[in-house]
């Protein structure tokens, strides 16, 4: 008797059978959903059921074909119809960008499929990432460098005379061995404990309204890691907080600072400023070879500079 009832309901599509471990069980189906299925053809219902079962992962058309044992064209037609009725939708997967994958219309694709916050339409959104990177960098920079509000622990020498002598030419009065030091340093003491932590950065990004995308702590960590690899920030306090590497800019890592005197915009160093540092035929170049330093035109240009 019971079986009969269930059979009836199954037929009506109001209950569906599930397998949980070794047991069979039944689940009630919403009436609208049931009606939806009712309105489909048998093939469509079958296709629909597999798509539904795939949940937020979605299902590849080839898999549908294999599971339903229907002909390619039939599957195609079913999918077309279902899509037309807005029961299912086609999504793009980050993992398999070439596959056609379907899922129920009202579901959100899972992170596996979308690739997380960094992906827009299954493409890595590099612009979004780089703008976030520079925002996070600026935040850390503003947090880890003293600002104009910060006072030194001791004011510079009070007496005019001494101040000027130490500011400009300390060497004139003292032994000339000393080098001239320009006093433009202002650093937090080593005991400074308020470098931003990961959650500080997270809070900042969330509250700043830069993005509507919900970023998890781990996403922020990924951003911060990239900044570390870029040599723009470094960890401190055993990785608990972050601070900017002195001299780094949002555009360039501090490591691109170049040689000491190269304070200009473009960073150079002794090696890369010689034409050979950039030369693509460097392996062919030797005295008596097809190209040589003796006849090198790049050198001609460089020497004129």
């Amino acid at each position: 008797m019971q079986v009969d009832t269930n059979g009836f309901h199954c037929f009506k599509g109001l209950v569906k059978m599930l397998r949980q471990g070794d047991d069979l069980c039944y689940q009630a189906v919403k009436k609208e959903d049931a009606e939806k299925v009712q309105s489909m053809t048998k093939d469509e219902a079958m296709v629909y059921s597999y798509i539904e079962a795939s949940g937020s992962e979605g299902i590849w058309t080839k898999t549908i074909k294999a599971k339903t044992n229907l002909h390619q064209s039939v599957v195609q037609r079913c999918l077309k119809n279902l899509e037309g009725k807005r029961y299912i939708k086609n999504i793009k997967s980050v993992k398999y960008p070439t596959r056609k994958i379907y899922m129920l219309y009202n579901l959100q694709p899972s992170i596996d499929v979308t690739g997380g916050p960094w992906f827009t339409d299954s493409e890595l959104d590099t612009e979004f990432i780089s703008s976030l990177l520079s925002i996070v960098f600026r935040f850390i920079a503003s947090e880890s460098l003293p600002s104009e509000d910060d006072k030194p622990i001791a004011p510079p020498p009070k007496h005019r005379k001494r101040k000027s002598s130490s500011k400009k030419s300390s060497s004139s009065s003292s032994s000339s061995k000393e080098k001239q030091v320009s006093y433009d340093q202002l650093s937090f003491p080593a005991s400074y404990s308020k470098y931003p932590s990961l959650s500080d950065i997270h809070d900042f990004v969330q509250n700043s309204g830069i993005t509507t995308v919900d970023l998890a702590l781990s996403d922020i960590k990924a951003l911060v890691d990239v900044l570390i690899y870029d040599g723009k920030i470094e960890t401190i306090d055993d990785g608990m907080s972050y601070r900017v590497v002195l001299g780094a800019t949002a555009e360039n890592g501090a490591d691109l600072g170049g040689d000491e005197d190269g304070s200009g915009g473009v960073a150079w160093d002794a090696y890369t400023e010689v034409p050979c540092g950039h030369c693509s035929i460097v392996d062919l170049c030797k005295t008596g070879g097809p190209v040589s330093a003796e006849e090198c035109v790049y050198f001609d240009e460089w020497l004129i500079q």
């Binding site: 890595l124 003292s174 080098k179 090696y271």
Partner: protein
């Protein structure tokens, strides 16, 4: 030493000492150790010519010789010493200018260095006899010996180290009697251990403080003199306590290139500290390095432990005009309460900064307000502003010092010298702490709190970090910032495949592939294939990228040396292109009066030539700095 290094050396030798000398060294570098007849055969030069070339080469110790102990009358072997040739020829200019900088009141010092570069070694008495002003020369020699830029030279040092070590080993082996109970390998091991100990002594023979110096009253000659004095000297970098020591006239003197590398390294370190922390801290660091200097003898194969320097020592020698306090920011205070003069007074007097920052963080409301303020600031701020701000921060604080001077002077009235000193000492401690707490580049290592803090440097760790940093910079400039990011990811992860790299770098796989190949090509990355199955199908294989620092650095050094070679080759070529002018310049009468003897066009030509030469030579010595970092520092 690779072939390309050799090319540079041969090129330099040819230009400076002529083709004969260059050919001899070239043959020795290519063929290894040779006796005179063999050298003649391989170089196809007559023996007499070779002998003529060998004399200056041996004098300069560019070529070393060895006569086997057991066959004292056999003909000696000759061995080229590329390291010494490199040091003497490439670093000559930097050496002279360093000495000029360091001893501005000793005009004879650079001359001494120049002469030693020319002659290799000199007996002190001969040099003094020949010098224009013997007293000045004596002072210069003494000063250079004291800072170890000069050392004494013994006969044994004209032989290659390997042979000398072999000899020591043989000696030690002979001392251990042959026994049936002890295996021959054991015996050799024991001898090896003994020999190594002995060798350390041999190598550090010039390391004691009074090497080549005697008491000025000439009573004791080269005594190991009173221990107290030597310790005193070691402690003080200034020459005050060692004043009565002068150069031992019987000593044979030569330049100490090892020590010069140590000094170059110190310069590199200080420059980096300036860039990464700030100029004042760098000045402190420089002083710390200077205090250690008497006990740092060489970078590579250092047998002595890294010296320890104390905070008090640094303070004693620190430039008294160096203003320490104004470069350390006071902990941020409540923003709501305007920065009252009281607060600045409190901070300017010696308040423990740590306890203060703690009390600050206790109040939650001020914190949140602060963060709101920050947020506002951070939006408006671009990084270029930041730099400017740092400058203005310093200058504004200096200008505001006027307003603070009221309570400041009040402070000063009450405080004695002691108080100033103690606060200065405290500030020094803060700068030293900045140097210690720099996880990426641990400039200093604190050992204990004795004597105002005992500090040392873990050179291996620090130089390793600097090498990596320099390497990354070169890569970043050569291949772009993305390549540098990828390289660093690979370095920190070990072996890693393309997809994971892309994930960490937050870049699409297709974008990074070209960079990885470029890095592979220039030798900074290697690729390992791990097949998933027994067939080695490419689709079923993991490709793991990895980075081997040692070989990557070696390749980079090679590229750098090659670049130096090219620069120098170009200098030679530039001269060759102007045979007329060169021969005219070589004329004695022209040398005496260039202005008068050259036409305007010629002058123009000479100017251009000299500019090119200068540019290239300056470039070479800057490239040498990279060689120091990658090859000679540890």
């Amino acid at each position: 030493m690779s072939q390309f290094d050799d090319a540079l050396l041969v090129l330099l030798l040819r230009d400076i000492y002529g083709p004969l000398v260059a050919t001899v060294v070239d043959t020795l570098l290519k063929e290894g150790r040779l006796t005179l007849p063999l050298l003649a055969r391989y170089s196809s030069l007559p023996s007499s010519a070779i002998q003529r070339a060998l004399i200056p080469l041996i004098q300069l110790r560019f070529v070393l010789y060895w006569v086997p102990d057991d066959r004292p009358d056999s003909s000696p072997y000759y061995v080229a010493a590329p390291d010494r040739i490199y040091a003497a020829l490439v670093r000559a200019g930097s050496f002279v200018s360093y000495v000029e900088d360091r001893f501005p009141d000793l005009p004879a010092a650079p001359t001494v260095v120049k002469n030693l570069l020319l002659y290799g070694h000199i007996r002190a008495s001969d040099y003094l006899a020949a010098a224009a002003d013997a007293d000045q020369a004596r002072d210069a020699l003494t000063a250079l010996l004291k800072c170890k830029l000069l050392t004494t030279l013994s006969r044994a040092e004209f032989s290659p180290d390997e042979d000398r070590y072999r000899a020591v080993f043989k000696q030690k082996l002979a001392l251990i009697p042959r026994k049936t109970t002890v295996s021959e390998t054991k015996r050799e091991q024991a001898a090896e251990a003994d020999a190594q100990q002995e060798w350390i002594k041999v190598m550090s023979v010039h390391d004691f403080p009074n090497d080549g110096l005697v008491l000025s009253d000439k009573k004791t000659k080269k005594s190991s003199s009173s221990k107290k004095r030597s310790r005193d000297y070691a402690l003080s970098s200034s020459s005050s306590t060692a004043d009565n020591m002068v150069v031992d006239e019987s000593a044979i003197l030569t330049l100490n290139h090892d020590k010069f590398v140590v000094l170059m390294r110190s310069q590199v370190l200080a420059a980096l500290a300036r860039r990464r922390i700030g100029s004042v801290t760098a000045a402190v660091y420089e002083q710390a390095l200077e205090c250690m200097e008497p006990k740092l003898f060489r970078c590579r194969n250092s047998t002595t432990a890294t010296p320890v320097v104390t905070g008090l020592e640094i303070l004693k020698h620190l430039d008294p005009h160096l203003d320490l306090g104004s470069s350390i920011a006071a902990p941020r205070r409540k923003r709501s309460s305007s920065k009252s003069s009281k607060s600045s007074k409190r901070t300017s007097s010696s308040v423990d900064s740590e306890s203060e920052s703690e009390s600050d963080s206790g109040s939650g409301s001020s914190d949140s307000e602060r963060s709101r303020k920050r947020r506002r600031r951070s939006r408006s701020r671009s990084s270029s502003h930041r730099k400017k701000r740092r400058k203005t921060a310093a200058s504004s604080s200096s200008s505001s010092s006027g307003s603070e001077s009221d309570d400041g002077s009040g402070d000063g009235d009450g405080s004695e010298d002691d108080k100033v000193k103690s606060s200065r000492f405290e500030h020094l401690g803060m700068h030293l702490a900045l140097l210690c707490h720099n996880p990426a580049l641990p400039f200093l290592k604190k050992l204990s709190s004795r004597g105002g803090g005992e500090y040392t440097i873990d050179f291996e760790v620090l130089m390793g970090a600097i090498q990596a940093l320099e390497y990354d910079q070169l890569i970043a400039r050569k291949q772009g910032a993305v390549a540098c990011r990828l390289l660093r990811i690979i370095r920190s992860k070990g072996r890693i495949d393309e997809k994971q790299i892309a994930q960490i770098a937050l870049l699409p796989v297709k974008d990074i592939r070209a960079h990885l190949t470029a890095l592979h090509e220039c030798g900074s990355l290697d690729l390992q294939e791990v097949p998933k199955g027994t067939d080695r199908a490419p689709s079923r294989t993991y490709y793991l990228w990895f980075h081997k620092p040692a070989s990557a650095y070696a390749l980079m050094t090679q590229q750098i040396v090659r670049t130096m070679t090219r620069c120098y080759a170009r200098v030679v070529e530039e001269r060759k292109k102007r045979p007329g002018i060169m021969s005219k310049l070589a004329r004695e009468d022209v040398k005496r009066d260039e202005e008068g003897m050259l036409t305007a066009a010629e002058k123009e030509e000479v100017k251009r030539l000299r500019a090119a030469e200068e540019k290239m030579l300056a470039q070479i010595s800057r490239l040498d700095r990279l060689v120091v970092i990658f090859r000679d520092c540890i």
